[in-house]
């Protein structure tokens, strides 16, 4: 017996990141077994958030007000710009309360394998934002091959502007014990050691 509506729901869930066929079917069963209001609440939340949440016209992060809260804060240091891949990265850096500059969200990293080139991520918008007022651009893309290459690419593109370009450091987690660090992290920490 084919249930077209059920199959459609499963296939929609499967399009979400990290959801395979089994998880998609489990979610679909859950929603069909739950009281109708529960499913309606989810559907309404999706629909309303799509209406209310948009990209900030300045930094690209997700926001309900445009410009976003961070871009609207006058006391933020406009000479310091931090470049990240995804909006979630902004929240992670904000939690530290250490960074008082502004952000630029690329929405991805270069990956020819996935068909993502410079035009698919917002490098052009970043270059427009690097005005003479900007003193430093901090590249906080992910520490993997795609994130590193994106950082190298941006550094090359920003070179003619003369702005200072820095890359976030990689190494041991604070509060951890050297004895329990994995070999890769330990090797990177030694590579990125600093003079005291």
């Amino acid at each position: 017996m084919r249930l077209k509506g059920f199959d459609r729901l499963v296939s929609e869930f499967q399009r979400l990141p990290g959801i395979g066929a089994k998880s998609a079917a489990r979610l679909a069963y859950f929603l069909l077994r739950a009281p109708r209001e529960e499913a309606d609440r989810l559907s309404q939340a999706i629909s309303e958030s799509r209406e209310a949440v948009r990209r900030c016209s300045v930094c690209n992060t997700l926001t309900e007000t445009d410009p976003c809260e961070i871009c609207s804060e006058p006391e933020r240091d406009s000479t310091l710009l931090c470049v990240v891949e995804e909006p979630g990265n902004v929240a992670a850096i904000e939690k530290t309360r250490e960074f008082r500059g502004r952000y630029h969200v690329l929405w991805g990293a270069l990956s020819p394998l996935k068909g993502i080139g410079p035009e698919e991520i917002d490098v052009a918008g970043l270059i427009r934002r690097v005005t003479p007022e900007v003193r430093e651009v901090v590249l906080a893309t992910n520490p993997n091959v795609e994130g590193e290459t994106t950082a190298l690419y941006i550094a090359r593109r920003l070179k003619p502007t003369g702005v200072r370009v820095t890359r976030i450091a990689f190494g041991l987690p604070v509060g951890g014990d050297i004895e329990y660090a994995d070999e890769v992290t330990m090797a990177r920490s030694l590579e990125n050691r600093r003079e005291l």
Binding site: L110, P112, L113, V123, N144, E148, T149, R156
Partner: protein, 376 residues
């Protein structure tokens, strides 16, 4: 490291019965086609390695869809449960006591070296076989090198995808800076891979020379070197090759095209060594690998040898057993009758139609005394 037990499900022709290994040497005997090599292959997969027969997971799966291998290991005073599952949908997944771990962690947990007839390719096969041999040694010698090997592989795939797009007419306004960034990242990862490989090879060469001396002058004079030499600058080479690469749509230089050169008195060995010499040389190379991994891991690696006595005379057999390591699980497969090895202190596992039965350990009391580690 000792392998205590192994269970497979849906793996080649093996039954799902528990296989119990003895402490030390284990002789897996049986006619051809019964599953001896399959058992050794299952041990290799559990230890975080690929099939030494270069078989794909779907070829190793009885139904082409999935298989699982579970094992119990003893490391020092602790016992560990390790497992690997493969399915066509989810790929390979390793677990330690039920918790998922990476293949690198599995390799580190169960260090192992395997020697099979296919390893002749280390000397006589294509460069790819020699690179694979060196990279496998590296994972045991310096586990952190695994991240650089994976990064290089990823950067190579990405750069090749870009070059292929450029070849097919996708050269856009941004392509020059994009290609330069990928070239720089590839060169960075490639330099790291070459550095690890040269250092790993230096450690290997020192042990190999030591082992080759007692094997005779013809082996003592053999050396192995990495190509290209130290003076090669990858970034410079890639920049020079760019016009050809853009036309061909792929990367034409880097660690994925490097090679190892076996030579004697500066002359390449390939085509000059007899079949017997190659056989001995590969055994010495694998024994050297075992020792390099042991010294680096601080844990005695398991040693697995497929079809170990093929082509060995009785005199060579005695020498072979004298050279085997102690203090770890050694798995030896043979199609010979067990009566060929009357005095060998080993657990005998009979393999028939994928099912293993054990005779128990033979002469276990002499095991560990008569066969000194000094030789390996």
């Amino acid at each position: 490291m000792r392998l205590l037990e192994l269970t497979t499900r849906g793996f080649r022709n093996l039954s799902s019965d528990i296989v119990s290994f003895g402490p030390g040497w284990n002789l897996v005997v049986g006619e051809n086609g019964q599953g001896k090599t399959n058992l050794l292959e299952a041990v290799a997969l559990l230890c975080g390695q690929r099939s030494f027969r270069r078989a794909s997971p779907s070829d190793m799966s009885a139904d082409g869809e999935s298989f699982s291998i579970e094992g119990t290991l003893r490391r020092g005073f602790s016992t560990e449960d390790l497992s690997v599952e493969w399915s066509s949908g989810a790929g390979r997944r390793f677990c330690r006591s039920g918790k998922e771990i990476s293949f690198r962690e599995a390799s580190g947990l169960a260090p192992a070296v395997f020697l099979a007839p296919e390893h002749r390719a280390i000397v006589t096969g294509p460069p790819e076989a020699r690179r694979r041999f060196l990279d496998r040694l590296l994972l045991g010698y310096r586990p952190a090198a695994g991240a650089d090997l994976a990064a290089y592989d990823r950067a190579l795939k990405e750069r090749n995808a870009l070059l292929s797009r450029i070849r097919d007419g996708g050269w856009g306004r941004e392509s020059t800076a994009e290609l330069e960034a990928w070239t720089e990242e590839l060169a960075r990862a490639g330099d790291a891979v070459r550095r690890h490989r040269r250092e790993g090879l230096a450690a290997f060469s020192a042990v190999f020379s030591e082992l080759a001396k007692p094997a005779g002058k013809e082996y003592a004079e053999i050396s192995v070197s990495y190509l290209p030499g130290e003076s090669s600058d990858l970034l410079e080479t890639l920049e020079k090759m760019l016009p050809i690469e853009r036309a061909r749509g792929r990367t034409l230089a880097g660690p994925h095209r490097d090679d190892l050169l076996w030579s004697r008195h500066g002359r390449p060995l390939e085509g000059r060594a007899s079949a017997g010499e190659v056989h001995r040389l590969v055994a010495l190379a694998k024994t050297a690998e075992w020792r390099v991994v042991r010294d680096a891991a601080g844990e005695t690696p398991l040693f697995g040898i497929d079809d170990f006595d093929a082509g060995l005379s009785s005199a060579s057999l005695d020498r072979f057993f004298d050279g085997l390591p102690e203090g770890t699980t050694v798995v030896l497969t043979t199609a010979s009758d067990v009566s060929r090895f009357p005095a060998v202190p080993a657990t005998v596992l009979h393999m028939s139609a994928g099912r293993t039965t054990s005779d128990g350990a033979r002469a276990a009391e002499s095991h560990g005394e008569s066969h000194g580690m000094a030789r390996i």
